[in-house]
C-alpha cells in the first residue's frame, strides 16, 4: 500500500514517513495541495494523509479536487492542529473520510489507516462486482435482442391481413412466450396455431423455433392438422426439458366445405361466435404439446361447422387470469360476456382490451396477454394463395403416373401431401398449383366420403347433422374393410401449355349422375356442397361415368 503524505512542514513529513515505512507502507510526499494533486495523479497512492493549512492550495481544496478526479475510492485522513468543531466538520464536508488532531497517537493513526484500508478494499470489491454485473447485463441484453429479432421474424410471417385477423400481443418480458402462426394451405383454407409456452422470455421463445419451422414447412406441403400436431408434439417432447410445454389451439379452416377442425390442448379461451349471435366454447380436450410421447398422443381434432361471417376468438390464460388491484381475476364469465354477440362487431378486440384495462386499473399484468380474433370472411380466405408464387423448375414434357390405394392405406394416411409433392416436382411451383391442390383435395375427399364410405351429404343439412357427418366419417374409416381408389395423373404439353388430366375411380356404389344435371351453380347446397361448383369453375371439363364412381377432370395451366 502506497500512502501520500501532504504537509508543508518538512520535519512532520520526515517523522511520519519514517513511522509508516517501519509499519510496512510505501510513502510519497507533497508540500502543498497543488503538489498533492500532481503526485496523486503520477503515483496513484491507495490512501492520503492530508494537512489542512498549507501555502499555494490548502488541504480542503486539494481533497475536493482529488475526490473529483479519483476513479475509485481513495481514503483521505486529515491530520490537523485545528481543534474547533467547525473546521473539523469541514474536513468531512469536502470529502475527507476521517480526521485526527495533532499531536496524535501513533497507535490511533495506525488503527485508522487499517480500518480505512478495509473499507477501501470492500468498496473496491463492490465496484468490481458492479462492473462485472453491468458487463454481464449488457451482454445479456444484446443476446436477448438477437433472440427477439429471430423470434419476431418467425412470428411476422403470418399469412393474414390485419383486417380479418385481429391480434393483441403484450409481452411482460422482453419478448413473450406466446406464439401465433398462420399459413394458407396449398389446397386452400387456413392453418392457425395459437400457443402459449410455460413461462416467458428467452426459454419460451427458443421453443418457438421448432414449432414455427414445422408448422410452415408441413402446412406448405399439404399436411393436415393431425399430422402437423403429431409432428410438433414429437419435436417439442424431444427437445424441451420436462416441465416445459406448449398449450396450443390448432385450427384448420376449410371454407370450401365449411369445416373447422380444432385440436385444443389447454387453451382455455377458444370460442366460435356465430353470426346469429350464438357463442360456442371450443373445449380443451387434450394435454398441451410436449407432455405425451407419440404413442399416447391423440391428434384427433374436433370438427365444427363454420359459416361465412362467423368469428373465432382465441385467448391465452393471461387474459382470464388478469388481476385487478383487489387480487380478483378477470375470469371466464366476464370474458364471455364481453364477446357475446361479437360476430357482427368490427371493434370486438378493442372492446375486450378496453374492458380488460378498466378491470385491471392500476394493477400491472403478470402474464403474457395474447388475444386473436379471426373474421371468417369466406371470399377473402378463398382469394388467398399459398406462399410460393415464383414460377420455377417447370419440367417441359409429357408424363403419366398412376396409383392404386387400398383401404388399408387410406385408413392410415392422407394422400394429399404426396400428391402435392408430385405436382410440384413434375409441374414446378406455379401460381395455379393452389387450384390443382384444391381439385385433388376435393376429388380424394369425394372418393373416400361418398365412394368408399357411402356417406350422404344430406346428413349435413340438419344442425346436428354436420357433426354427425364427421363422426360417421371417422367411425367409417376405422371400420373400413374393403375398397380401393385408383388415381391417374397425365400431363400433355401442347403449345407450351400443360394439360393435366386427372382420373379418379373408387370401388364404391357410385351415385345418380342425373342429379348433377339439375344442379345449379349459383346454389351452395346440393351434391358435395361447394366441392362440385369449384371443380367446374377451375377445370376445362368435369366428366362422370354413368355409374358415378369415376370422374375425369381436365385442367389447363
Amino acid at each position: 500500500m502506497k500512502i501520500l503524505l501532504v504537509d508543508d512542514d518538512a520535519t512532520n513529513r520526515l517523522v511520519l514517513s519514517a513511522y509508516l515505512k517501519k509499519d510496512g507502507y510505501d510513502t510519497v510526499v507533497a508540500e502543498n495541495g497543488q503538489q498533492a494533486i500532481e503526485v496523486f495523479l503520477a503515483e496513484e497512492p491507495g490512501m492520503i494523509l492530508m494537512d489542512v493549512m498549507m501555502p499555494v492550495m490548502d488541504g480542503y481544496e486539494a481533497t475536493a479536487k482529488i475526490k473529483e478526479l479519483a476513479t475509485r475510492f481513495i481514503p483521505i485522513i486529515f491530520l490537523t492542529a485545528m481543534t474547533d468543531e467547525k473546521a473539523l466538520s469541514k474536513c468531512v464536508e469536502v470529502g475527507g473520510d476521517d480526521f485526527l488532531t495533532k499531536p496524535y497517537s501513533r497507535v490511533i493513526l495506525n488503527a485508522k489507516i487499517e480500518a480505512l484500508i478495509r473499507v477501501s478494499q470492500l468498496y473496491n470489491r463492490v465496484v468490481e462486482q458492479h462492473d462485472a454485473l453491468e458487463k454481464h447485463q449488457i451482454q445479456e441484453q444484446q443476446e436477448q435482442r438477437v433472440a427477439r429479432n429471430v423470434f419476431n421474424s418467425l412470428m411476422n410471417k403470418g399469412a393474414l391481413d390485419k383486417d380479418v385477423f385481429h391480434t393483441h400481443i403484450s409481452p411482460v418480458s422482453l419478448f413473450n412466450g406466446d406464439v401465433v402462426l398462420t399459413a394458407v394451405r396449398p389446397s386452400g383454407g387456413l392453418h392457425i396455431l395459437f400457443g402459449d409456452f410455460t413461462g416467458h422470455g428467452l426459454g419460451a421463445a427458443l421453443g418457438a423455433l421448432p414449432v414455427s419451422e414445422t408448422f410452415y414447412t408441413m402446412s406448405s406441403k399439404s399436411y393436415g392438422i393431425e399430422e402437423i400436431c403429431c409432428e410438433i408434439n414429437l419435436k417439442l417432447k424431444n427437445q424441451l426439458p420436462v416441465g416445459m410445454f406448449l398449450a396450443t389451439c390448432f385450427l384448420e379452416l376449410d371454407v370450401i366445405n365449411s369445416v373447422l377442425k380444432v385440436w385444443n390442448g389447454a387453451i382455455p379461451g377458444a370460442y366460435i361466435l356465430r353470426k346469429t349471435g350464438e357463442t360456442i366454447r371450443i373445449q380443451s380436450t387434450n394435454l398441451p404439446f410436449a407432455i405425451l410421447g407419440p404413442k399416447e398422443f391423440d391428434s384427433t381434432p374436433t370438427v365444427f361447422e363454420i359459416f361465412d361471417g362467423d368469428k373465432i376468438v382465441l385467448s391465452t390464460d393471461g387474459i382470464l387470469e388478469a388481476e385487478n388491484t383487489d387480487g380478483e381475476m378477470y375470469g371466464t364469465k366476464l370474458f364471455e360476456k364481453q364477446i357475446e354477440g361479437g360476430a357482427i362487431n368490427a371493434e370486438l378486440l378493442e372492446q375486450v382490451m378496453i374492458s380488460l384495462d378498466e378491470f385491471a386499473g392500476e394493477q400491472e399484468a403478470n402474464d403474457d396477454i395474447t388475444l386473436a380474433i379471426i373474421d371468417c370472411d369466406f371470399d377473402y380466405i378463398n382469394g388467398l394463395h399459398s406462399e410460393t408464387k415464383t414460377e420455377v423448375n417447370v419440367i417441359d414434357g409429357d408424363w403419366e403416373i398412376g396409383f392404386k390405394l387400398e383401404h388399408t392405406i387410406i385408413k392410415r394416411i392422407d394422400p394429399l401431401p404426396l400428391l402435392n409433392y408430385l405436382i410440384n416436382f413434375f409441374l414446378g411451383v406455379r401460381e395455379k398449383n393452389t387450384q390443382v391442390n384444391m381439385i385433388l383435395s376435393e376429388l380424394c375427399c369425394n372418393a373416400i366420403d361418398h365412394g368408399l364410405l357411402g356417406l350422404d351429404s344430406s346428413i349435413k343439412e340438419t344442425p346436428s347433422g354436420f357433426m354427425d357427418f364427421y363422426e360417421h366419417k371417422s367411425k367409417g374409416l376405422e371400420s373400413l374393410q374393403a375398397g380401393t381408389i385408383f388415381l391417374n395423373l397425365k400431363n400433355t404439353v401442347i403449345d407450351n401449355n400443360s394439360i393435366l388430366t386427372i382420373d379418379i375411380e373408387d370401388t364404391g356404389a357410385g351415385f345418380d349422375v342425373s342429379k348433377l344435371k339439375k344442379f345449379n351453380l349459383c346454389e351452395n347446397e346440393g351434391y358435395c356442397g361447394r366441392g362440385y361448383p369449384l371443380l367446374v369453375n377451375f377445370c376445362e371439363s368435369v366428366e362422370f361415368n354413368n355409374k358415378g364412381n369415376k370422374v375425369e377432370c381436365v385442367f389447363k395451366f
Binding site: G199, V242, A266, P268, S284, N286, L287, I291, E321, M329
Partner: protein
Amino acid sequence: MPVSSSVNGSNVTITVTGRFDFSSHKDFRETYANTDGATCNYIVDMSNTEYIDSSALGMLLLLREFASSDKSRITLKDASADVKDILVVSNFDKLFTLE
C-alpha cells in the same frame, strides 16, 4: 412456508399454501428430492392453494417424471374449484389422480 411436506412410511404429502407459481420451484423440488420415486405415493394437498400457473403445472410434470409417470401414485387432493378448472382445462386429470 408456502410449501411444506411430511413423510409417513411410503406416503409423501406435499402441501402448497397460497400461490403455486415459479417462486415455489426450489421448495417444491426439495420436498421429494430425497424420497424414493420408484415406490413412494405422492399426495399434493392443494386445499390451501389459491392459484396455480403454468410453471406450477410444469413442476407437477417434473414430480410425475420423478415418480416414473405412474398416475396411480400421484394424487392432487382437494383443489379449489378455480384451481381444478385450470387442471381440467389442461387435461391434467389424464396424468394425475384428482381427488
